[in-house]
Symmetry: C2
DNA sequence: GCGGACCTTAGAACAGTTCTAATCTTGTAG
DNA sequence: CTACAAGATTAGAACTGTTCTAAGGTCCGC
């Protein structure tokens, strides 16, 4: 995490309390947080921080390649600090939990590329996590 | 298309001019239309139709399994009438064009499933279509 | 301590979608 | 044909997530 702050400083970023706190939110457990999650956690450290700053900072971190935007998992954006290793996402359709997983990337046969230049492949496994599976069984009599 | 209308009637759907026109929008060329696209095309046939009805009808068609929602290719929802054959999507990141393609579905090793029950796999290839590639070249001197 | 670049902020604006409540249409029974 | 009830349509309000705006605050070299 200190390393991230250093990298940001090296890029000419002014390190402010707000930016530091947002960056630190991603230091702990590897989670895929929404903007509101980040806002909430940042406010626990720095109650004055505004939502606008959280949005600004997240967008800048994405622009610098320090965070990945996870767009296709429900209706709000999520942020993934794992920019080092290529990975896919496993999403619980009930609770929205996301885990990183690894899978062989699919590819398209040349004949079916329609002249496209392929830039990336985005894979999301949708399923139900153990907690939501047992919750579903528990209430299945309703 | 007549078949679709019949299926809808069989399900107890009241066939109104509005619903018929929305269903017919998907009869022609296989496209992945946004709500606004559908609204525009429907109004060409039935100028009085309201956007609310287009939303209602599309949501009902999705609920009946007659249309697929393509959620995260850009920032608006798109609708795909190809519910018969499993397929993936190839998206142009510049113009938003979507094509159906076929690829071997990736899968997750058992050890990495974390107890999830996998329901579906969502694959999107992002790239640049031939038109946008040549447009990019043409203006690359700017 | 000054100036200017940069940052933060609250709230307005915006886009896409859903909701609301009033009106209209349809199909059926009398 | 008429009345009725269920269902469909409508305009516009409301809602949600995100971006914009403009005003003020902070930092740092001079």
């Amino acid at each position: 995490m200190a390393k991230l702050i250093d990298r940001l400083r090296d890029r000419g970023w002014r390190i402010t309390p707000q930016r530091r706190v947002v960056a630190e939110v991603f230091a702990g457990e590897h989670l895929h947080l929404s903007v509101d999650d980040v806002y909430e956690r940042a406010r626990a450290e720095l109650p004055e921080i505004s939502l606008a700053t959280v949005y600004n900072t997240l967008n800048e971190l994405v622009g610098m390649g320090e965070l990945l935007e996870v767009n296709r998992c429900g209706d709000r954006r999520r942020y993934d600090p794992n920019v080092e290793q290529r990975h896919e996402h496993l999403l619980c359709v009930d609770c929205g939990r996301i885990l990183d997983v690894h899978a062989r990337r699919p590819h398209i046969a040349d004949e079916e590329r329609y002249g496209f230049e392929i830039l990336e492949v985005d894979v999301v496994f949708r399923g139900r996590c153990p907690d939501c599976r047992s919750a579903a069984h528990a209430s299945s009599g309703e």
